[in-house]
């Protein structure tokens, strides 16, 4: 593949581009789904193609193609250069990239069992077994289980001399049960809904989920939610657990810290950010116990790789340190705007046909020192919410509302009755400022987010967020329309 890639580098060099690169990407994916005893999805997919990016006289151009010949690669490179020339018609100054050494390297996601070597029937047998357990109650109207496996093989070559080959592997699964009665429906999932839990690695990720051990509980809780009282409206202390912490981190810190949107380059679609650059190193984002770390080297992380798609080596850095805004997600184009000579390396593309853009890296809330029991015991009137159902946040990442699958009221330090349709609202810095306890490392889990949308044309990226359950004081809960 590098022989084919070198054609783009050769053509870009002849046209004296400031910078050029080609990413050849082969994506192999498998998706399986069972719904109510029937196969509702069984797809094997392979795509192969390349994207060529050039910086010509300081202006960007990008073109992609899938015809795997030297001539087609050369034509695509020329198309990217022609587009860059058009970009030059509307610019303030030349785009300059932060420096990065040239690398020649191979990097691969560590795994134990190749998920593509596990027979389809083995996967379906497990899913049908779960499906049968989930449907063993007449109130369960919809039972769904799914699995997904993705292997992305990349060959990345730059005019600066980098030659990087990477093989990224991820595996995921989910099961959900939806109970329906008198026109009302309630859903419960494990490990979570929205396509389930995905981490980087092989079939061992699925085995570690112990899916059969949770099917009965998922079913019974979905049915129990039908007759549970509705989450009360008011102000209460809140413990967030399960994958809801991942969504809270993702939406209110991850996107808010993407430097391209901070600088206004996402204004037309995803929006901008309140976490503007003059706040770096000064702004109190949360309470002093809040530490959020971006980490492209994190084992199991969906954004874990040897290098990002700017050919920058993987790094680990603070976004929020001791409650203060301390960093951003960066690419090589924009990191100079905050005085950084080197990008932190969080620039990625969706497949071969998209331009790399600034993305959220793996971003985790560091564990605290409070035992989980104590988190609950110190609440007089509160609620615990688990697993995300819905999410919404304004375009500056301030006002958010989340809905969760299930809630449990906490009274006088004890977890009491189950409530349905729990929701909460907040304003980002005030909310993180109200975080007064984070459970210790024994409760810390890594959660995958596989459906992060951004950019125009739209791109999807995956990343992980790790956290222990955390406690927030005086939160507005129970919004209902």
């Amino acid at each position: 593949m590098f022989k084919l890639a070198s054609k783009a580098i050769e053509v870009a060099g002849k046209h004296r581009v400031d910078f050029g690169d080609i990413r050849i990407v082969e994506d192999r994916s498998q998706y399986l789904a069972v719904k109510n005893g029937e196969i509702s999805g069984l797809t094997d997919s392979v795509t192969l193609g390349y994207g060529v990016r050039v910086l010509y006289k300081g202006a960007w151009g990008f073109a992609s193609g899938s015809e795997m010949t030297e001539r087609a690669v050369a034509d695509t490179t020329l198309k990217a250069i022609a587009i860059a020339k058009a970009s030059g018609l509307l610019m303030h100054g030349r785009v300059r990239l932060a420096r990065e050494p040239a690398y020649t390297d191979f990097w691969q996601t560590p795994f134990l069992k190749d998920p593509f070597a596990v027979p389809v029937q083995t996967k379906l047998d497990l899913m049908f077994r779960l499906d049968a357990v989930l449907r063993r109650n007449s109130k369960i109207r919809v039972a769904q289980t799914s699995m997904n496996f993705i292997r992305e093989h990349q060959w990345h070559m730059t005019t600066e001399g980098s030659r990087i080959e990477q093989v990224l592997l991820s595996s995921g699964a989910s099961m959900t049960a939806t109970a329906v009665l008198n026109g009302e429906s309630q859903m419960r999932g494990y490990p979570c809904s929205h396509g389930g839990q995905t981490l980087s690695g092989g079939w061992e990720i699925i085995e570690a989920m112990n899916l059969p051990d949770h099917a009965e509980r998922v079913r019974d809780e979905a049915v129990a939610l039908l007759s549970a009282p509705t989450c009360p409206a008011g102000v209460a202390d809140l413990i967030i657990s399960g994958n809801q912490m991942a969504l809270q981190i993702h939406e209110s810190v991850g996107h808010a810290s993407e430097l391209d949107r901070v600088l206004g380059y996402e204004e037309s679609y995803a929006g901008s950010s309140f976490a503007t650059t003059e706040k770096l190193g000064k702004f109190r984002y949360g309470s002093p116990i809040v530490n959020l770390v971006a980490d492209a080297t994190l084992p199991g992380g969906l954004a874990t790789a040897g290098y990002d798609d700017d050919a920058v080596k993987a790094q680990r850095w603070n976004i929020v340190k001791d409650g203060v805004l301390s960093g951003y997600m960066t690419n090589r184009e924009f990191c100079g705007r905050i005085g950084k000579e080197r990008s932190w390396g969080s620039c990625r593309a969706d497949g071969y046909s998209n331009i790399p853009i600034t993305r959220i890296c793996n971003l985790s809330l560091m564990p605290g020192s409070t035992p989980m029991d104590q988190l609950v015991e110190e609440i007089k009137n509160g609620i615990m919410m688990e697993n995300n159902v819905s999410w919404s946040i304004d375009q500056k990442r301030l006002n958010f509302q989340f809905g969760c699958e299930i809630g449990w009221l906490i009274k006088n330090g004890k977890k009491t009755k189950m409530v349905k349709n729990p929701t909460y609202q907040g304003i980002t810095p005030e909310f993180w400022g109200s975080c007064d306890a984070i459970a210790d490392h024994s409760e810390w889990r890594l959660w995958g987010v596989s459906n992060c949308g951004k950019g125009q044309p739209g791109q999807t990226a995956a990343m992980c967020h790790g956290s222990s359950p955390a406690r927030f004081r005086k939160v507005k809960i129970g919004m209902h329309g």
Binding site: A33, I39, S40, G41, L42, T43, D44, S45, T47, L48, A59, W60, G61, F62, A63, S64, G65, S66, M68, A80, I83, A84, A86, S87, L89, L90, M91, P119, V120, Q121, R141, V142, T178, G183, G264, Y265, E267, S268, G271, F274, I355, I357, S390, W391, S392, I393, D394, Q395, K396, N399, Q401, G403, N421, Q425, I427, G455, Q456, P457, M479, G481
Partner: protein
């Protein structure tokens, strides 16, 4: 097209007697993106993706790929056959559909639109940026164009194809603490008034400076067509889709013929010659039909694919998504019947209301009542005594759409064409008692 036909024939041969369906999606498009008054991204992408579904003796498998060399095809199809033959039988699996006549439609392909150059797109962005710089405003947005084609074929004789050109101009203008937005998709660049969109967004940005904070609560709202469309699309997906209906998870379940929404609301799905036209066949190759979903607030029908239609003991309405589909069918070419007067008349008729340009990050909370949340964005105003009184800071709504669309007070004659899940033609609307649950800081 000729190449796609040849690839289909090769795939049918490799399928060795199994029922075989090929879906080929071709897209050749480009997008120029600008922000901070400069071009920030400028991209082009060309692709042909194939999805092949094989069925045999109650078993099925699907493969997708984008390389069509003989060796690739042979490997892909033999892998699919191997997966298929190792499976257990699925008694609910429907065989492939036999070909049915596809209605003739007017062409939606315009070569000039499909082939607009990067210079054309850059010039359109530059026109807006120049105007914005003069007034201290900041232009952001996109100019996008291209061609897409979908071919669906099977070895029972189906061969259907649909090709369309597209162009879209999306404009966001920032003016200090104000912002404005306008957007429009079209099949023909001649139908797109770039200047009008630019001026609309610029004027709105200027008018929305120095917004005031107001208290959350229930307000009458005047929703511009894009804002109304964002809500109607959720109502349609969770209310008028056969699978949700059959499973009893929708507010419409078992309520055909009953008035569920405002008498001012009539919605149809019509891909053929409606106000939001599209492909004349669905992803099972069935002809799309015109379906009146709601007439004067009364539920008249929901849409079906072959599977949900069988359960409902009726015929498919031609609304299948790519199979197999966990979502079932959904309406993709919705048109809300226009009412009377202009947006200005809706404003004029409001004593006190909130005017919403656009909603941001909308999401569903409860499917059965289509309870949603989301934020206002890019121009939110207080209307008092029939006039726009002042801009207000953005608000979050938490509201059941079943209730909201039962309280329609007025519908405009003007409609906007909006790209949502599919295409949607929607007028502006005035709704009473719309619940805003909180506000934000800008």
């Amino acid at each position: 097209m000729k190449n796609i036909e040849q690839v289909c024939k090769k795939i049918f041969t490799l399928a060795r007697g199994a029922q075989c369906e090929v879906m080929a999606e071709t897209r050749d498009g480009a997008l120029t993106r600008f922000a901070d008054n400069v071009i920030s991204q400028n991209v082009a992408s060309a692709s042909v993706n194939y999805s092949v579904r094989l069925l045999e003796n109650g078993r099925s498998a699907k493969v997708s790929f984008n390389q069509t060399g003989d060796a690739y095809l042979k490997h892909a199809i033999s892998s699919a056959l191997e997966i298929l033959r190792r499976q257990k039988k699925d008694p609910a699996l429907l065989p492939l559909a036999k070909p049915r006549p596809i209605p003739a439609i007017a062409s939606r392909y315009n070569r000039e639109t499909a082939e607009l150059s990067p210079t054309f797109r850059a010039d359109r962005a530059a026109e807006l940026s120049r105007a914005c710089r003069k007034t201290g405003q900041i232009a952001c947005g996109t100019v996008e164009n291209g061609v897409s084609e979908l071919t669906l074929a099977n070895n029972l004789g189906l061969f259907a194809s649909y090709k369309e050109s597209y162009v879209m101009h999306s404009v966001t203008v920032r003016d200090h603490d104000g912002s404005g937005w306008a957007e429009r998709p079209a099949h023909d660049v001649k139908d797109l008034n770039f200047k009008l969109l630019n001026e609309t967004a610029r004027a709105k940005a200027a008018a929305s400076r120095s917004p005031r904070e107001i208290k959350p609560g229930k307000y009458t709202v005047v929703l511009e067509p894009n804002a109304a469309a964002a809500l109607v699309s959720y109502l349609a997906v969770y209310g008028f889709a056969g699978q949700y209906y059959n499973e009893g998870r929708s507010f419409t379940a078992g309520k055909l013929g009953k008035r569920l929404l405002s008498p001012l609301l009539t919605i149809e799905d019509n891909a053929l010659d409606g106000a939001a036209p599209g492909m004349p066949f669905d992803y099972e190759g069935q002809p799309r039909t015109r379906v009146t979903l709601v007439e004067n607030g009364v539920l008249k029908a929901v849409v079906h694919d072959r599977k949900t239609a069988k359960k409902a003991k009726m015929a498919s309405t031609g609304h299948a998504l790519p199979q197999p589909s966990y979502m079932g069918p959904i309406p993709l070419n919705l048109a809300v019947k226009p009412g009377q007067g202009a947006l200005a008349d809706l404003i004029k008729g409001a004593e006190r209301a909130i005017l919403v340009t656009q909603f941001h990050y909308t999401n569903i909370l409860k499917t059965q009542t289509v309870e949603m949340t989301g934020m206002t964005r890019n121009g939110t105003f207080m209307v008092e005594n029939g006039h726009i009184a002042y801009p207000i800071k953005n608000m979050r709504f938490t509201q059941s759409m079943v209730e909201a669309f039962d309280k329609i007070d007025a519908v405009s004659a003007e409609t906007g064409l909006v790209a949502e899940w599919g295409t949607l033609a929607c007028p502006a609307m005035r709704l009473k008692d719309f619940n805003f649950s909180s506000s934000t800081k800008f």
